[in-house]
């Protein structure tokens, strides 16, 4: 059956090369557009996402603020109840004492968690000779911190991994402003007093918050500068899939005594923008695909009309309706597959050319957003084109299968 249908389908396509090429081209153009558009938008979104989440944790866990328990919540008991004056004082820095066990718990609780970084963060004032700058002190284990944010790779000078007590890494803008160089010394005054630090590295992260006003120190150093003892202020979580942040934050907030902040909740506007962009690109692709489908329908209908007599003869010879249907559906499938493969190639080529053209025209220091080409996009577009092509060809194929052999024979 298939042998007959394939043979006839391909022969008919070959006998009308221009028509076949036209149909395949319609598919190719649409697939190329889908691949190109997706690569472009995907790349743009990936870059926006990196810019947004590259320098921040996906989920930040802080001790949940707890007010003193109100009287009316206290359980009635037989013991006399003494209620004093309710304290209105706030904790200056809420901290997590038993963070080691929480890190172990978190790393086992969800497979999306890539790394948990116990972090100490607090305010400080940097003094260099007569100049002072307000800064944030960020203390973490350099190994863990680097696994999440890749600080070592972004160093302009010096080192971050293996940072020792009394050493610090600064953002390059901060260092520039204060004229600090490698191995220079400066002072930082925190809530627990003043420390003298040595510039061990200067980093350029591309995130202005980090480059402008952060001093990175080892965990212990920060703890002593901020007077925290052995506690940390936050547990920073990096995820394998950033878009799982909301789910994870909700989950942790339910089962652990933390206030969990997800990056998604704090970047609603950006996410809404990305979503709108995805939706509009989907609409464009939908109509492009639809147009390709109509293209195949109209070209194959012409083909069927030109071959009504042949179809009638085949039916007279004993070809069943489903065999005729198969011939024309296969034509649609074949045209879509050919067009899809060519189109995918053209789309990939266009995306790469576009990227290169932009990269070579870009000003130094400004990164061109990448194109997001992946096997899933390319194969998916080809598969989509085959599905649409086959479905579209069913319209003319059904028309062909309905040809009545008697009318064909009688009309001659």
């Amino acid at each position: 059956m298939v042998q007959f249908a394939w043979m006839l389908a391909l022969r008919q396509l070959r006998s009308a090369p221009r028509q076949s090429a036209l149909a395949a081209s319609v598919v190719a153009v649409s697939v190329a557009l889908v691949v190109f558009l997706n690569a472009l938008i995907g790349g743009l979104q990936r870059r926006l996402l990196e810019t947004t989440t590259g320098g921040i944790p996906h989920v930040v866990l802080e001790p949940a603020p707890r007010e003193p328990t109100p009287v009316w919540v206290l359980r009635p008991s037989s013991d006399p109840l003494y209620v004093g004056t309710r304290s209105t004082r706030e904790l200056r820095t809420r901290s997590i004492e038993n963070w080691r066990s929480w890190v172990r718990w978190l790393e086992a609780v969800d497979e999306d968690i890539a790394v948990v970084i116990p972090t100490v963060e607090g305010p400080g004032v940097l003094t260099r000779e007569t100049r002072t700058e307000p800064i944030r002190v960020v203390g973490a284990d350099p190994d863990r911190f680097d696994r999440a944010f890749g600080l070592q790779q972004r160093l302009v000078a010096g080192r971050y991994l293996g940072l020792a007590g009394g050493e610090a890494v600064l953002g390059y803008r901060l260092a520039d402003r204060l004229g600090l160089r490698l191995r220079d010394r400066f002072r930082v005054t925190g809530p627990a007093g003043t420390s003298t630090l040595l510039v061990a590295g200067i980093v350029r992260t591309g995130f202005s918050r980090l480059d402008d006003g952060v001093v990175f120190v080892p965990l212990r150093q920060a703890q002593s500068m901020l007077g925290l003892g052995t506690a940390v202020t936050t547990l920073s979580v990096r995820l394998r899939r950033p878009f799982e942040a909301d789910r994870l934050a909700n989950r942790i907030a339910l089962v652990a005594p933390f206030e969990a902040r997800s990056w998604m909740r704090e970047n609603r506007q950006l996410l809404a923008g990305l979503q709108a962009q995805s939706q509009s690109s989907f609409v464009i692709q939908f109509f492009v695909t639809l147009a390709a489908g109509f293209g195949i329908v109209s070209i194959l209908i012409t083909n069927v009309l030109a071959r009504v007599r042949e179809i009638g003869i085949l039916r007279a010879m004993g070809a069943t309706r489903s065999q005729i249907l198969e011939v024309f559906a296969l034509q649609g499938t074949f045209l879509a597959l050919t067009g899809g493969l060519v189109g995918a190639g053209v789309g990939v080529g266009l995306a790469l050319l576009f990227y290169q053209a932009r990269a070579s025209a870009a000003q130094p220091g400004i990164e061109v957003f990448p194109v997001d080409l992946n096997a899933r996009l390319v194969l998916g577009s080809v598969v989509l084109s085959v599905v649409v092509g086959t479905l579209a060809s069913l319209v003319p194929a059904r028309q062909a299968a309905a040809v009545d052999p008697i009318r064909v024979i009688r009309s001659t």
Binding site: E310, I313, A316, M317, G318, R321, I406, I409
Partner: protein, 229 residues
């Protein structure tokens, strides 16, 4: 089996504005190996008769028994399968598929059943050789003369080893010489293969060469003449 085909009071009514009886109470029996010519004026119902015998059309009433089986009211699909397996068609306009080679055209009825077996292929190639067209196996129909094309169509009709071959004016488009060549070949293959042939023709000279001549007028069988014992 005495008859390969048996028509029992077959009627066909067309509704084209006004009802028209294309066939009325047609009885016809064809023996295995018999060569029957159907003649009659235009519009007398010859082609309708052939379409009903060829399972392209259904009778309004009456029975059609083909190879011992009542086929009058089979489904569309069942009729397609029977056409493929039991019947070979030869048309006035040859109707070869232009994008297939001669060999592919003659193998087509077999391909409709599935992969072509080596013995089937050899048999069909033998038939092509017999009619002198073996050298044209790779040629396309457009490269052949009308007479050659009709001979190819004849081999195609025999490819599926049918019980019955139906020919609708097979010589109608050919000059006298080619017409006779095709007719002689049909007669020869009829005798050699033992297949029954029913041929619709306008030409009395061909009809006279048949085993039996059935004359149709106004949808009825007017006379049946056995031209040979």
């Amino acid at each position: 089996m005495e008859h390969i085909l048996y028509l029992d009071r077959v009627c066909k009514l067309y509704h084209e504005g006004v009802p028209v009886w294309a066939l009325q109470d047609v009885d016809l029996a064809v023996r295995p190996g018999e060569f029957v010519a159907v003649v009659g004026p235009s519009g007398s119902g010859k082609t309708t008769l052939l379409n009903i015998i060829g399972l392209l059309d259904r009778p309004t009433s009456g029975r059609v028994i083909l190879a011992g089986r009542d086929v009058s009211n089979l489904s569309e699909n069942a009729r397609s399968v029977l056409r493929r397996d039991l019947i070979g068609f030869v048309f006035q306009n040859y109707y070869l598929l232009p994008e297939l080679t001669v060999l592919e055209n003659v193998l087509l009825p077999l391909r409709l059943r599935g992969p072509v077996s080596a013995p089937d292929r050899a048999r069909v190639e033998g038939l092509l050789e017999r009619v002198g067209l073996a050298p044209y196996g790779r040629a396309f129909p457009s490269q052949l003369s009308g007479g050659q094309q009709q001979r190819v169509a004849l081999i195609r009709a025999l490819a599926n080893d049918p019980t019955l071959v139906l020919a609708d004016e097979p010589t109608g488009n050919l000059d006298s010489q080619s017409g006779w060549a095709v007719f002689d070949l049909m007669r020869e293959l009829n005798r050699a293969t033992g297949k029954s042939f029913i041929m619709v023709t306008h030409d009395e000279r061909f009809a006279r060469q048949a085993d039996r001549v059935v004359r149709i007028e106004d949808g009825r069988i007017h006379t049946e003449l056995a031209s040979r014992p």
